[in-house]
Amino acid sequence: MIEITGLKLKNPTMLAAGVMGTTGASLLRMTNAGAGAVVTKSIGLEPKSGHSNPSMIDLGYGFINAMGLPNPSYPDFTDEIESVKKNTDTPVIASIFGGDAADFVKVAEGLIDSNPDAFELNVSCPHAQGYGASIGGDACAVEDVTSAVCDVVDIPVWVKLTPNVTDIVTIGQAAQRAGAEAIVAINTVKAMAIDIHSGYPVLGNRFGGLSGKAVKPVALKCVYDLYSALEIPIIGVGGISTWEDAVEMIMAGASAVQIGSAVYDDINVFSNIADGIDEFMNEKGYKNSAQIVGLAHRRN
């Protein structure tokens, strides 16, 4: 059991936003697969179909995707959140996005009655123009959006950051100043693939974001740097597919981890990783994961 921003998780693994999170049924399936918490698909003001396909490609060493924030809009998503909440005690975090602070506030207010346990602000999607990283690359915009949402809700607000910036720490500090209770890092790394037979970029959106094994070292460094500079907890995400990856992320400074692309190999990745962390801690004689959060910083 761990506690993060007041949420009680049976283990430190969470389902990351954008993966298996479009319906209540799939979120519930992930809780049954062992996730300590689940984050929904990012929800916005209006229904969006997303980019045309191909929208995700397996590269072997990682995945590139450009979904384009497909979502049914907040009025049509409250039922999905309610259906998970009704069937599990596992915390449900609503990921939300918008073009500006007013959008974020409207979506947060629209979803609050479905009783999510926290909000995760998506200011980091790298391939939806005007949304996501368009805000997340600008410390002032992040501060503005975060404080606007924190002002109107009384549940924890987490902010998910993009690594596609010069200095992620500045952005994290802006979110912390504005009242964020946790930082989630990282979203995908800008990337593309080109079909050499035709010259066409493979993704329907031409470019997208890299996830999976290839981004783990990038995520580790971001989490490491954020841990050095921030007071609030960091939730590490990016390329975690084994318990060793999760422990590494925790030692970099993450209080909990999120897992996305790795459901590709096995839906039960959550319980597998949670069990692996437990065994590791027992073997090493650690009493709880808090003892190893940021351990790398104490090894000089």
């Binding site: 298996m20 479009t22 979120l27 969006k48 072997g60 995707n65 998503f77 590709y264």
Partner: protein
């Protein structure tokens, strides 16, 4: 994997609404019922079940298929796959029943041929709107007993596949497979459930796919969250009991659409 590049070697007009596109490459590992993602470059990428190891049979139903129909021999496509879970293959001497409708007939033809080659006994009930839209009559006739219906009675028996299905003894079959429009399959499902044979049935489902590799969750069904692209597209009838099958599906934005 990046999409592999295939050249269209032949285009066969199967019916007024349906064409088969043959490729210069075979997907040798593909199991009957698995699908590929067909990339029409610059337009879209759509899921299609293989009708031959080196071909897809497409009904012109939307923007992407419209563009596909504008292509000619020698033009090229990108293909990813095969993906998903196909049909449970029949064994030698097993009796199997195939109930197929419309363009669904094309996607189950490889199964009928596999079964024949393996030494299973194949009975098929194939339906179409009219005589012109009946697909692969020769391929199915060569595999075993073939019954056919048309909605308008322009060929064979007038009516639906479910009428023939209702009349035959379902219990004599070891495996029963169905592919076609969802409301047809739902009617087939109801008859087979009543006949108490649902545990030996398999249905091939269609949903809107985004990632097609079991990650994004766009094609998850209520209420178990099964992914049509990875846990399916072929499901045992038992998996569909109490599900959204025949009731609703989700569109590209994740919004519910009732059938």
């Amino acid at each position: 994997m990046y999409p592999i590049n295939v050249k269209i070697t032949e285009i066969v007009h199967e019916s007024p609404s349906t064409r088969t596109f043959f490729f210069d490459k075979e997907l040798k590992d593909a199991q009957p019922g698995q699908f590929v993602m067909v990339w029409i470059r610059g337009v879209d990428e759509i899921p299609m079940t293989l009708s031959y190891k080196n071909a897809i049979t497409v009904q012109n139903v939307g923007d992407a298929t419209e563009k596909l129909f504008e292509l000619n021999e020698e033009d090229e496509l990108g293909i990813r796959g095969p993906f998903g879970k196909g049909y449970t293959l029949p064994e030698k001497d097993e009796k199997i029943l195939i109930v197929a409708g419309g363009v669904g007939t094309a996607s189950i033809a490889l199964l009928a041929e596999y079964a024949k080659e393996k030494g299973s006994y194949v009975t098929s009930i194939n339906g179409a709107r009219n005589a012109d839209e009946l697909l692969f009559v020769d391929r199915f006739a060569e595999c075993g007993e073939l019954n056919m219906t048309t909605d308008d009675g322009s060929a064979h028996r007038q009516g639906f596949v479910t009428e023939i299905l209702s009349e035959i003894d379902k219990s004599e079959f070891d495996k029963i497979y169905s592919c076609g429009p969802e409301m047809m399959m739902k009617a087939v499902f109801n008859i087979l459930e009543k006949a108490d044979v649902i545990d030996r049935t398999e249905f091939s489902l269609h949903r809107y796919f985004k990632c097609a590799i079991g990650v994004c969750g766009a094609c998850c069904m209520d209420s178990d969250g099964l992914r049509v692209c990875k846990d399916g597209p072929v499901f045992n009838g038992m998996q569909l009991v109490g599900s959204e099958f025949g009731l609703h599906m989700r569109g590209p934005s994740g919004n519910k659409k009732t059938f």
